[in-house]
């Protein structure tokens, strides 16, 4: 039973355009959501997070939107750059402090 789902295994976007990565979850107890970015042969690195009491959090080119009623969040990258090409993982936290990860979406930004 996958509690965090990233249904798009891959996404290709032109440089300068917007990248939108989606994530759905099923557990209503999740109270924090995080996005991690992973390059090959490296560990995941934290990108941005959002509390369940908010619907938007912005950090530079990265914005995360949360729709609690739909149990859906999305990561927007504007403008996309070739260095953004990586695998992006959505993760969620409930009270036990464990991170539950999705399967990831591979983003390719084409110059």
């Amino acid at each position: 039973d996958q509690q965090v789902k990233q249904n798009s295994p891959s996404l290709s976007v032109q440089e300068g355009r917007i990248s939108i990565l989606n994530c759905d979850y099923t557990n209503s107890m999740f109270d924090y959501f995080l996005w991690y970015k992973k390059y090959p042969a490296e560990g995941p690195t934290f990108l941005i997070s959002i509390s369940s009491i908010k619907d938007k959090n912005e950090d530079g080119r990265f914005t995360v939107f949360l729709n609690k009623s739909a149990k859906h969040l999305s990561l927007h990258i504007v403008p996309s750059q070739p260095g953004d090409s990586a695998v992006y993982f959505c993760a969620a936290v409930a009270g036990s402090y464990q991170l539950t990860f999705g399967k990831g979406t591979k983003l390719s930004v084409i110059p």
């Binding site: 560990g43 509390s51 399967k103």
Partner: protein, 117 residues
């Protein structure tokens, strides 16, 4: 500030052999995690330590996997005997402390890629 260190980076063994991975977390981080990431999947938590005590090991296959963090700093994860399905990247992560209601941002090491033949 140095990041999370892991060794070895790569390991190839035959099934039924044993293997051990080492992790040194970020200095001062009380909480340490071991994850297993199978190809095409997200990281799955195996075990979580707070200082030298186990917080959660519910997803650790205890018949073959063991982990310890004796002095509350470095940690080792062992597999004995290994099976083909253990082929994965083993990630170690650390965080400053468990924080109720917090985002629990974790800092990951580069991982150890294990191949079991």
């Amino acid at each position: 500030e140095a990041g999370v260190a892991q060794s070895p980076r790569y390991k190839i063994i035959e099934k039924r052999q044993s293997v051990a991975f080492w992790c040194n977390p970020i200095s001062g981080h009380a909480t340490l995690y071991w994850y297993q990431q199978i190809l095409g999947q997200g990281p799955k938590l195996l075990i979580q330590f707070q200082n030298n005590g186990v917080v959660d090991d519910s997803q650790l296959p205890k018949d073959r996997f063991s982990a310890e963090r004796l002095k509350g700093v470095d940690s080792t994860l062992k597999i004995q005997p290994a099976k083909l399905e253990d082929s994965a990247v083993y990630l170690c992560a650390s965080s400053p402390r468990l924080e109720a209601g917090g985002s629990n941002e974790q800092f990951f090491g580069p991982g150890t890629r294990l191949t079991v033949l």
